[in-house]
Amino acid sequence: MIPPPDSPEGAMLRFIRKRAVASLISLVGLIVMVFFLSRLTGDPAALFLPVEASAEMKAQFRELHGLNDPLLVQFARYVGDVVTGDFGESLRKARPALDVVLEAFTWTLWLALVTMTLVTGAAIVVGSLAAFRAGGFFDRLSSVISLLGASVPDFWVAIVAIVVFSVNLAWLPTSGTGSLLHWILPISVLFIRPFGIIVQVVRGSMIGALSSAYVKTARAKGVKSGPIIFVHALRNAMLPVITVIGDQAASLLNGAVIIETIFGFPGVGKLMIDSILQRDFNVVLAAILVTALAIFLMNLLIDLAYALLDPRIRH
């Protein structure tokens, strides 16, 4: 009893609009929450100025940055500014908060993008092959590796990797940015956990898809194993996998704080933590807004990917 479909394009636009409204609500909620919560964590003046600074200096600092006004006034002012595209200045860096955030976010975006691409590719191949011979040697091996991957503390791996690959073997630079080589270690460490998780999901989903009726049809048609796995089953099995990929990508977009800290990678995760540590509220808020927006866009892409993969969703 499906209602007669109207044009898929119209439906898509309506869907995007609906999602945008919902995300806007979430975004506003997020801003309200972060604004007030972060201000509960303490006074930026105490941190910006040295402990020996006099009370007058602190008062003057607060006055200078409008921190003496009632919270609600500060909030109204902030909202007013944001609406006109002004996200305020960073206290610490004396530059527009948005610039600071966008700079850092670009790095995070690339890191997330490259990592997730590699993870997705590798996890799909490994997970599919494991599912095809479920219970076999490769399955066991891949599940031990992926479980291990999902349960190792990442900072541990990061430091050991630096000691081994950069100091002892001197194959790779220890940290920082610059050449492509600099990306290898952070990406490898970031790779581990999502890989472990996604392999498991791919495997589970593929086992389901491989036992489905249409795979039976394909076998009855005489289709070879390769196409059965990677053409027939995989595309069907991708839906739950995409959801998990989305979740993992979202957490990468939110910044890989620890990896960024260790590898001196100027991403948004470390920026956020540093900023809250220094009570640089404008940067925290701008960073949250930017990452939340990015995550919203990514979720939208994921929905589009659903529609692309599964024609049934297009209506």
Binding site: A213, K221, V223, K224, P311
Partner: protein, 539 residues
């Protein structure tokens, strides 16, 4: 003796399950020649599909295992063939179509792609495959075939999907087509069309057809010979007429006897004051009009059958009467009160009077509750019916009443067969001592022999307890032996309403006549006559 196209010899297959090793088929043998149609007849659990899966190499090993036997295709044993040769047989020499084409077609690829794949897998060039796919779709009668190639399975109706499956199966003109319950979930009119198509194509190509079914009507319509299976064993074989006229095995006899539509028809009493009076019920889902103004009266203690094909709105009607869905307009007066305007509190009281039995007992019984919990839950919800001390006793009573035993109380639904589960569902409905039970396709999912038993049970309850029934079905023969009145629905409208005799013997509407004509009769001779008549009408 000339070599058969296909010969199954002493095949035994077993499966490892939670309950131990199950011998799915034991030592069965049958054969099939070119141009011939063999039916494998059996109910659920008979193992009728296992041998065909073995032929197609579709048995998962483990948990399955072919423990003995051979399957000869033109004298060559498929079971000992190397894997790559074996794969070449599938699609090229033997093709298969299945029940439920929706789940057997890959939902994410266009049907054009899927048909082409059948061809290219076995070496057809892709340009040629494209042309061939178009030809095949045209041949199986898909409208606008050019356009249809780019559509996805979910965009077709059930009958069209089965036609697509057939096109795909026949792409390489196989010597043998295996059809596993190809028409089971389809409406009767569509079923007739699909079977006719299969026959035509068989005549065109001279292929052999192995059809697996539980339906005697299908056997009568299409098969030359039939083998009957029960619990993994082949109990009877012969030509269709022989087996029908002169069944040897008690099981075959039971099966034939259970076929519906042969008993006495009810003669309803004169109509008095209705207990349920439904007027002009309307319901839309978005742009789709499910009900376009349905009205009827139901007398106390009477059975009214609602018959219609998919999309007729019959299930929507049931859901609305039980307030599982809200109507857009109309009224339904139950003992003088409009069901549609009741407050939640009043509705809760009224639930005792109106109950429902669903199509699939596997789904309508919570898998994590025991039979005792399932039945007694009604008294937790309606605590004033029965004091807790008497629950156990009453559950036992009810179970006996529906033909089960008190010892079943502690078991879970999955430990029962389909028919038994439906009995549990009925016991649960009875626990509230209702005055009206709405049965939504309550026997459609059951085997024929079980169907008859459940219908007999319902009829007994009606007689003994004076419960009124609204019995929803897509199949006319089922309601013939049971209903007082029949209401035929089509596309949200009531097409015809009358006593069961009036509807079956003197149908007023073309649609009703078409429904009756499309129904398959288990008697091969009667069915042959039907067919002749149909062909005559067509020409």
């Amino acid at each position: 003796m000339a070599e058969h196209l296909l010969e199954v010899r002493n095949l035994s297959v077993e499966f490892h399950t939670a309950a131990g090793v199950v011998k799915a088929v034991r030592n069965i043998s049958y054969h099939l020649d070119r141009g011939e149609t063999l039916a494998i007849l059996g109910e659920s659990g008979s193992g009728k599909s296992v041998s065909s899966s073995a032929i197609m190499n579709l048995i998962d090993m483990p948990p399955g295992r072919i423990s003995a036997g051979e399957i000869l295709l033109d004298g060559v044993d498929l079971l000992t063939m190397p894997a790559n040769q074996r794969r070449e047989v599938n699609g090229r020499r033997i093709a298969m179509i299945f029940q439920d084409p929706l789940s057997h077609l890959n939902p994410v690829y266009t049907i054009g792609w899927q048909i082409r794949e059948a061809l290219t897998t076995h070496g057809t060039a892709s340009a040629q495959a494209r042309a061939e796919a178009l030809r095949l779709l045209t041949r199986v009668g898909i409208p606008e075939p050019e356009h249809a190639l780019g559509k996805y399975p979910h965009e077709f109706s059930g009958g069209q999907r089965q036609r697509v499956m057939i096109a795909m199966a026949l792409a390489l003109r196989p010597d043998l087509l295996i059809a596993d319950e190809p028409t089971t979930a389809l409406d009767v009119t569509v079923q007739a069309e699909v079977l006719a198509l299969l026959e035509e194509l068989q005549q065109e190509t001279g292929m052999a057809v192995l059809i697996i079914t539980h339906d005697l009507g299908v056997v009568a319509e299409i098969a030359d010979r039939v083998v009957v299976m029960e619990k993994g064993e082949l109990v009877e074989a012969g030509t269709v007429r022989e087996v029908y006229r002169n069944p040897q095995h008690p099981y075959t006899r039971k099966l034939i006897a259970a076929a519906p539509g042969k008993g006495e028809m009810h003669e309803p009493a004169a109509r008095t004051a209705p207990v349920l009076s439904v007027r002009d019920v309307r319901k839309r889902y978005g742009a789709f009009e499910a009900l376009k103004g349905v009205s009827f009266d139901l007398m106390p203690g009477e059975t009214m059958a609602v018959v219609g094909e998919s999309g007729s709105g019959k299930s929507t009607l049931a859901r609305i009467l039980l307030r599982l869905d809200e109507p857009d307009a109309g009224s339904a007066h139950w003992k003088g009160r409009d069901l549609f305007t009741l407050s939640p509190g009043e509705l809760y009281k009224l639930r005792r009077d109106l109950q429902m039995v669903f199509q699939d007992p596997t789904q309508s019984l919570n898998p994590r509750m025991t039979v005792y919990q399932l039945v007694s839950e009604t008294w937790i919800i309606h605590p004033d019916i029965l004091p807790k001390a008497k629950w156990r006793e009453r559950v036992a009573e009810l179970l006996v009443q529906v033909g089960l035993g008190p010892e079943h109380m502690g078991r879970y639904p999955h430990q029962f067969s389909g028919g038994q589960r439906q009995r549990i569902a009925i016991a649960r409905a009875l626990a509230l001592e209702p005055q009206l039970i709405i049965c939504d396709e309550a026997v459609s999912a059951l085997d024929v022999s079980v169907q008859a038993q459940v219908i007999a049970l319902l009829d007994k309850l009606r007689r003994e307890m004076g419960i009124a029934f609204i019995f929803i079905a897509h199949d006319l023969p089922v309601v013939r032996d049971f209903a007082d009145h029949v209401m035929v629905m089509r596309k949200g409208n009531v097409v015809e309403f009358g006593t069961v005799r009036a509807v079956f013997e003197t149908p007023r509407e073309d649609y009703t006549r078409a429904l009756l004509a499309a129904g398959l009769d288990p008697d091969p001779d009667v069915q042959a006559a039907h067919r002749a008549a149909r062909l005559q009408r067509a020409s």
